[in-house]
């Protein structure tokens, strides 16, 4: 099996300049890899650094040390040192991300929010919207909401828009940040089904998931983030 994502010896800390420059260590020595067709889940209590790891893998947080090697197009690149332009290309083609919270844009409908990542990859707008409709229907989002901007949606409705947006493309790597946190049981099952389909399609998935049932259903293994706790070494 291919291994499209290899993380080695990654460390991250925050320096708070407004608090006299105190250093908040987050994680250190983060090392793991994800194979195609596998779903790994980051485990550990809140504050252990799970979200920070996902955000570094998406280029959303800077990396202090270490390497994040991603198979991108026909080569390997190190996301930890890649230029902004390369990170953008990786996001467009290689790494997808379902964030915990939806960042809405004024006046853009839920349907177009979902279709956008496909359009960015060069798909025809109408074809992308059709796929978006199918996904939103599958996730039981009432059709009367599709043409509305999601800013005023409930938490669960926004999350389903976010999930549809993340799952619509065929990125070979997909990061999931609590994809089922505010969903009811029926929609959790839909997401479990979507994840299973991605695995079958050979996508490498890495997620954060506190819900026991979902984790049991999708995770092939759990990566214990407490092993990378930076505090242990600093303290």
């Amino acid at each position: 099996m291919a291994t499209p994502l290899v993380v080695s010896d990654v460390a991250k800390s925050f320096i708070m300049h407004l608090r006299d420059g105190i250093k908040l260590p987050v994680v250190t020595g983060v090392s793991f890899s994800i194979r195609s067709g596998e779903c790994a889940v980051l485990g550990g209590p809140s504050g252990a650094g799970k979200s920070s790891i996902l955000k570094m893998l998406y280029g959303n947080y800077a990396v202090d040390e270490g390497q994040i090697i991603v198979q991108h197009e026909d080569g390997l690149i190190d996301l930890a040192t890649a230029s902004p332009r390369t990170v953008l290309a990786v996001r467009r083609l290689t790494i997808g991300y379902v964030s915990q919270f939806l960042r809405t844009v004024p006046r853009v409908s839920a349907l177009d929010v979902v279709a956008e990542p496909l359009v960015q990859r060069g798909a025809d707008r109408e074809a992308a919207r059709n796929k978006a409709r199918a996904l939103l229907a599958q996730l039981n989002l009432p059709e009367k909401l599709w043409m509305l901007p999601p800013a005023t949606f409930s938490g669960g409705e926004q999350q389903r828009v976010n999930i549809a947006r993340g799952f619509i493309t065929e990125h070979p790597i997909l990061l999931l940040d609590e994809p089922t946190a505010s969903l009811d049981a029926r929609n959790r099952d839909v997401v479990i089904g979507l994840i299973a389909a991605k695995k079958a399609a050979g996508v490498a998935l890495l997620g954060i998931c506190h819900n026991h049932d979902v984790r049991e259903a999708v995770a092939d293994r759990v990566i214990d983030v407490t092993a990378f706790a930076a505090g242990k070494i600093a303290a």
């Binding site: 925050f14 320096i15 708070m16 300049h17 407004l18 955000k55 280029g59 959303n60 947080y61 800077a62 902004p84 332009r85 990170v87 953008l88 290309a89 844009v105 004024p106 006046r107 853009v108």
Partner: protein, 258 residues
């Protein structure tokens, strides 16, 4: 996607006597990329924008632009006439105050048509049809085409200014606080419009703003300026979500949450 940038800026500085306007700014801009330049008043961001758009000549440094024939040309070595031609055809400049970018005493249609005539269009019917099309793209009703911008609201004037700039199909647009001074609802409409146009037309843009929310919505990359220097740069969401420089941390922590 092309492998060459559209604009290459190297060690650009502008001094006003002994005062620093901007100092040692270096970056590349690729086609289709929107770069936000943020910082508070006096940080040098408008000086930088004016140097890049050749409205001001820098004290030192270089900027070269990839012309439509693929050749890079040094901006500050071009003749005044060549620069003016670039400004009229391949570039756009959206001012904070629409009155600076529009002719307030000629009709809306003429404001848009004038740029077309500058690139050699002479057919009246065609120019008018293109003007109508662009007014509708910026959501101005066709029956306002013969009105002067003096009779327009601030938001409409700004949309007209955008139409005037984009009608010639520029490849690079400079924007100086494009949503400054507008109501939030008008601002949202304008931002959505700009986002759509930039994506559909594949424009590259350099947007100067002090509003980090505007920068997040419009740009993929960001430069943070303070006292004329770039203190931090990178992907827009990286800079805003994981600010590293003390000044950026201060800026980000000063945003009011709604």
């Amino acid at each position: 996607m092309t492998d060459e940038p559209l604009l290459r800026v190297s060690a650009l500085s502008k001094f006003y006597g002994s005062r620093v306007g901007c100092e040692n700014v270096t970056f590349d801009l690729w086609p289709g990329e929107v770069l936000a330049v943020v910082g508070e008043s006096g940080s040098g961001k408008t000086t930088l924008l004016n140097c890049l758009s050749t409205r001001l000549l820098p004290s030192s440094g270089t900027a070269s632009y990839r012309m439509r024939d693929g050749q890079f040309r040094e901006l500050y070595r071009m003749s005044e006439a060549e620069r003016r031609f670039l400004m009229r055809t391949d570039w756009g400049f959206v001012h904070q105050n629409p009155a600076d970018g529009l002719r307030m005493t000629v009709s809306a249609g003429a404001n848009v048509g004038e740029r077309l005539m500058a690139v050699g269009d002479r057919h009246y019917g065609k120019i008018r049809a293109t003007a109508v099309d662009w007014l509708s793209r910026v959501e101005i009703d066709e029956d306002r085409i013969d009105d002067e911008p003096r009779a327009f609201s601030g938001g409409m004037r700004q949309r007209l200014q955008i139409a005037r700039n984009l009608v010639t199909g520029p490849r690079l647009v400079f924007m100086d606080e494009p949503t400054g001074g507008l109501d939030v609802s008008v601002q949202a409409r304008l931002l959505d419009l700009l986002r759509g146009l930039v994506t559909d037309l594949g424009l590259a843009a350099i947007v100067v703003t002090h509003d980090l929310a505007v920068a997040r919505l419009l740009s993929q990359r960001m430069m943070v300026m303070k006292d004329g220097r770039v203190v931090e740069s990178g992907l827009t969401d990286r800079v805003l979500d994981d600010p590293r420089a003390p000044y950026t941390q201060l800026l980000v922590s000063s945003i009011l949450q709604v």
